[in-house]
């Protein structure tokens, strides 16, 4: 199963629900990797709705596993993108053209959900029109609070900043604007004193 129960945390940490079909003037869906399962569940609950949907899907490591089932669900438009940056322009266009009443479905990793959410809100889509469901990897998108560099798909804590090389402790403190968790230097007082890295949530 691709779902994961996040332990309770601080208020800034995003929480996720389960996608459900909702009536709307347009249906816009975005998923990465195992997030496809959440979209397929919506399609199963309401096949008609799926036929009207504009779906953007980023397979990541899942390769072809979900592309055929998604195609079989027969969305109005299915766009397969190699990465999130590769589809942001399209997403921007689709969100901007979305009329009020459009329903947005975001499913997959936290990094994808967070970035697409920030983009949608910036364009003016009401938060209540956006549903999210976490699926797949619990990897995080982390911003180093020191050099401001963002490292994608962080799986361990602490980890080494991909930009400045500091050893960063991954906090639950989350920036909605950046769609990133904050990473803070863990050995500032005593350089080199870094606890062993453990897998997130292990």
């Amino acid at each position: 199963m691709s779902t994961f129960d996040f332990p309770p945390s601080i208020a800034s940490r995003p929480t996720y629900g389960a996608l459900a079909p909702r009536a709307g003037a347009a249906q816009i869906m975005l998923a990465d990797a195992e997030g496809a399962e959440a979209l397929l569940a919506v399609a199963q609950a309401d096949p008609e709705l799926m036929h009207r949907a504009h779906v953007i899907y980023i397979p990541k490591h899942t390769g072809e596993r979900f592309t055929d089932p998604l195609r079989a669900a027969a969305p109005d438009i299915l766009h397969i993108a190699p990465s999130y940056p590769a589809c942001t322009q399209r997403l921007h266009r689709v969100f901007s053209a979305a009329p009020m009443g459009a329903q947005i479905y975001l499913a997959g990793t936290e990094g994808l959900i967070g970035q697409a959410m920030a983009l949608a809100l910036q364009i003016g889509i009401p938060k209540s029109a956006i549903q999210t469901e976490h699926r797949g990897s619990v990897a995080r998108r982390v911003q180093c609070v020191h050099c401001k560099g963002i490292t994608e798909d962080v799986m361990t804590d602490p980890f080494q900043c991909g930009h400045c090389g500091l050893n960063l402790f991954v906090r639950d403190h989350y920036s909605r604007r950046l769609a990133a968790f904050q990473g803070v230097c863990i050995d500032a007082e005593d350089p080199g004193n870094v606890p062993p890295s453990v897998e997130l949530y292990s």
Partner: protein, 320 residues
């Protein structure tokens, strides 16, 4: 407490007949002071002394919200109503003094909206007139869709169209023109809020269409002041004050309490704001809920809105 307790003494400075049904009244502060600014969509409760009877009717303010020298309301003559509008039309003259309640806004623009889509029916145009003046000062995209029975009865349509030719759209019943609601509500840019003021049927139509098209509830705003309905007289025991009062046929429960000197809160007097909500301690009979405020599960005999709702039965005890 009820904002109705704070009153502004005003003098009628102009009475302008717009058409067969609608007359505008303009007011200045009776002692020449500045009137408080308000925000577009606000209403005031006009207090009229009709012989021994005090009439309190809410009207939307339609003057420029930032103009402290005057307030204006537009009143539709409702011959079948309880007499407040007819009294204003027939009896109130320039130079008369009246009391106004402090402006209260139950229909404010959401200033976080990227665009305001306004839908007006008939006299429901009045709050939008003030809101449009407000937006002219603050900037802000809007679009008005205004439906009226005929050109002659389309109050302010000419002024609005002259000032905002691209943003104001008029639909006339006698020309068989109808607001293309479905199309309008399915083509608005993200961040639009919709506002509707007009007859009940129009409000229901807009709310239902918006819901069907997936509009989030917080982006949909409506205002309708209900006039209290007449009905059979009934008697009420008021537990806090120990009074027993009788509500007359053409009087609301709120008015009856006020007549008897009971301090009862209110803001809108039209079943919309929730301010007058009163606990029902006991009843033997039927509560006739006429408000927009209570949720269905609250209409279980535990609460009543005295500004518009009535009672039929043998005994009613309220927590007042």
């Amino acid at each position: 407490m009820s904002a109705g307790l704070e009153k502004l003494p005003v003098i009628v400075t102009a009475k302008v007949k717009l058409n067969d049904l609608v007359t505008r009244f303009e007011f200045a502060h009776a002692s020449g002071k500045a009137l408080p600014p308000f925000s577009g969509g606000a209403h005031t409760v006009v207090e009229m002394q009709d012989g021994a009877k005090t009439r309190l009717n809410p009207y939307s303010l339609m003057s420029d919200p930032m103009d402290p020298t005057q307030y204006a309301i537009s009143v539709r003559r409702d011959a079948a109503g309880r007499g407040g509008s007819v009294f204003l039309h027939d009896k109130v003259q320039v130079g008369d003094k009246l009391m106004l309640g402090m402006p209260v806004n139950l229909f404010a623009l959401d200033l976080t909206a990227r665009k305001h889509l306004m839908i007006a029916g008939g006299i429901g145009i009045t709050p939008f007139v003030a809101q449009i003046k407000q937006l002219q000062t603050t900037g802000g995209a809007f679009e008005l869709h205004y439906s009226a029975r005929s050109q002659a009865l389309a109050s302010y349509a000419d002024d609005l169209r002259a000032a905002h030719p691209k943003r104001v759209n008029l639909y006339l019943d006698d020309q068989n023109q109808q607001i293309p609601l479905e199309r309008l509500l399915s083509g608005q840019p993200p961040g639009t809020h919709v506002y509707v003021c007009g007859p009940r049927g129009m409000i229901d139509w807009v709310l239902a269409t918006a819901e069907r098209l997936g509009w989030p509830p917080e982006a949909v705003h409506s205002e309708e002041f209900l006039a209290p309905q007449s009905g059979k007289p009934f008697t009420v025991d008021l537990a806090q004050t120990g009074k027993t009062i009788t509500v007359g046929e053409h009087e609301s429960l709120l008015e009856a309490m006020e007549r008897e000197g009971v301090d009862a809160p209110y803001l809108c007097r039209g079943g919309a704001c929730g301010q007058c909500e009163t606990r029902v301690i006991a009843h033997d009979g039927t509560l006739q809920h006429n408000d927009h405020w209570l949720e269905d599960d609250e209409r279980d005999g535990s609460k009543i809105m005295p500004c518009v709702s009535r009672f039929e039965g043998s005994r009613l005890v309220l927590d007042r």
